[in-house]
């Protein structure tokens, strides 16, 4: 398969489209957790109940599909190859838990991949809307519409006092998790991020790197999300997150300005070195690739590099994950082979830019 076709098939709208503030915010995500009142939660339910959950949702779709998003496709986890699941996971369309552990897990996916409804994950239903750029309110609106559409025919587990009932008490109430994926190289380079993260944690929000393990954030990509789900309304939760993220955006912008003023040539050097590595290397580990991609993206945003599309970071961060590399290669790869494959995929992708 040619790389161009592969990418066209692989890239979801949130990776290629440009949203507001997309120089810093890669994507905005809203997730709603819901359960059906008549069934036990997925950790205890019987196989029959699990099948009924899928059946109920399939019925709802067949009855009157949510036409706004075009056709929706139902994917049953049991029928997918491990590699296909991994690719969905790397695109953030399904969770690792759904791919690995769920019994009778399924996923209802919209054509443009902005909406995915996970079925039989930790809760019966998890509605997820993933939008490019800074569009939390838009994503919330979409998630609410889907939620209402499902609720027309499905009885949710809901309690007057504590709201939507979820398997884990950390999600009870609104069942809402709102998050944004941010590229923050300026704050990392100026070493401000270590002071900022604890401050944000104190506000009831969570910051973590989404690639890499522990506290390390590969590619300077961070996820900020709400922790509380009970007591505040959906709109308040989202507005609170929005205001903190807006502050982070302006902090990042002023860090970039400061870098440009104080160490312009060093920064330019760094960007072009990374660009050199990406366009010439023959073997590249995911860590190094992530670091260089972050530099190149920063270089594009700050005007050192032109003629390269902005979405290169979003796209290649996803496409150079093990699952995608193996799908592109058409079979399993050993780690060392992956590094070679990764380097060649990046080189080819950069060549496409120059055409």
């Amino acid at each position: 398969m040619s790389l161009e076709r592969f990418i066209n098939q692989a890239v979801s709208s949130w990776m290629s489209a440009e949203g507001p503030d997309s120089d810093i915010i890669l994507s905005s995500r809203i997730r709603l957790a819901r359960n059906i009142s008549q069934f036990k939660f997925p950790i205890l339910f019987s196989n029959d109940e699990a099948k009924s959950v899928i059946h109920k949702i399939k019925e709802r779709v067949d009855d009157s599909s949510f036409t706004k998003l075009g056709n929706m496709e139902l994917l049953l986890m049991d029928e997918l190859q491990p590699l296909q699941k991994r690719v969905l996971m790397e695109k953030h369309l399904i969770s690792p838990y759904l791919a690995e552990n769920s019994s009778y897990g399924a996923c209802l996916l919209s054509e443009n991949e902005e909406l995915s409804i996970m079925i039989n994950e930790e809760d019966h239903i998890r509605i997820q809307c993933l939008f490019p750029g800074f569009q939390l309110l838009e994503a919330l609106e979409m998630a609410n519409e889907i939620d209402d559409w499902l609720e027309e025919k499905i009885d949710y587990a809901f309690d007057e006092n504590i709201g939507y009932l979820t398997s884990c008490p950390t999600n009870v109430g609104t069942g809402l998790r709102a998050s944004v994926m941010m590229h923050l190289p300026g704050l990392v380079l100026t070493q401000q991020i270590n002071r900022i993260i604890p401050a944000i944690n104190q506000l009831g929000l969570v910051v973590r790197g989404i690639y890499g393990e522990g506290s390390e954030a590969l590619g300077n990509i961070f996820q900020v999300s709400n922790q509380l789900t009970l007591g505040k309304s959906e709109i308040d939760i989202v507005e609170d997150l929005k205001s903190v993220v807006s502050q982070l955006i302006s902090q990042e912008r002023s860090a970039r300005e400061a870098l440009e003023k104080t160490s312009n040539i060093q920064l330019e050097d760094r960007v072009f070195r990374s660009f050199g590595i990406l366009s010439n290397s023959r073997i590249i580990e995911s860590k190094e690739a992530a670091r260089c991609l972050s530099d190149v993206r920063l270089g594009i945003d700050m005007g050192y590099l032109s003629d390269i599309s902005k979405n290169i970071l979003n796209e290649l961060m996803i496409l150079t994950q093990p699952g995608f590399l193996q799908q592109y290669a058409g079979g399993p790869l050993r780690p060392h082979e992956r590094d070679i494959r990764r380097a060649s995929l990046i080189r080819e992708r950069l060549k496409m830019e120059n055409q």
């Binding site: 205890l44 209402d148 027309e152 709201g163 939507y164 009932l165 884990c168 008490p169 009870v172 505040k232």
Partner: protein, 182 residues
């Protein structure tokens, strides 16, 4: 701070060990801490999940401790009568078995929810349109009653009268709804 073992990664775990009044401090990254393993009683590669943390949080709860003391009496075992999950099981896995668990463990749950959601224990957000029909009215009435109080305290009596009439209207609607529902 850099990890004192590998001198490469930043130290994210800080331990203070006191043996025979001798104090020793360790600053390690996650990887080295895991390699040192037993020394710090860290579990295997998967590390600490939210559920472990949650389970720890629940265990500190006084209502739970009390339960442990009199587990001899079988009657006191707290169990959900729909999915037969016991409260002890819930504490272990941090997840409920069914929607009814929230009712079954209501008393024990209150302090836990407050701790998880910084003091909040009641829902203030969306209400499902269909099954929450009369609940919408109730919330509306509550909101109006609050407004009524406000306008009375501001001595805006005309406005208060309007709000009062609106409340009456909604209340009669609620009553017919409830009767119709049965």
């Amino acid at each position: 701070m850099i990890c004192q073992e590998c001198n490469q990664r930043p130290a994210t775990l800080h331990f203070t060990k006191i043996v025979n009044a001798e104090k020793a401090e360790y600053h390690l990254c996650e990887k080295c801490a895991q390699e040192k393993g037993d020394m710090f009683m860290l579990s295997g590669a998967t590390g600490f999940s939210i559920n472990n943390l949650l389970a720890g949080l629940l265990n500190m709860d006084p209502t739970v401790k009390k339960k442990e003391q009199d587990t001899f009496e079988e009657e006191t075992i707290l169990q959900c009568d729909q999915c037969s999950m016991t409260f002890q099981q819930f504490i272990k896995i941090g997840r409920f078995g069914c929607a009814h668990c929230y009712k079954a463990f209501e008393e024990q749950l209150k302090p836990i929810l407050r701790r998880l959601h910084s003091g909040n224990s009641s829902h203030n957000g969306k209400i499902p349109a269909r099954i929450g029909g009369s609940l919408h009215l109730k919330k509306n009435i509550e909101e109006l009653k609050y407004q009524l109080k406000e306008s009375i305290s501001r001595e805006e009596f005309e406005k208060a009268a309007e709000i009062r009439d609106e409340i009456r209207l909604l209340e009669s609607q609620l009553n017919t709804n409830l009767e119709g529902g049965k």
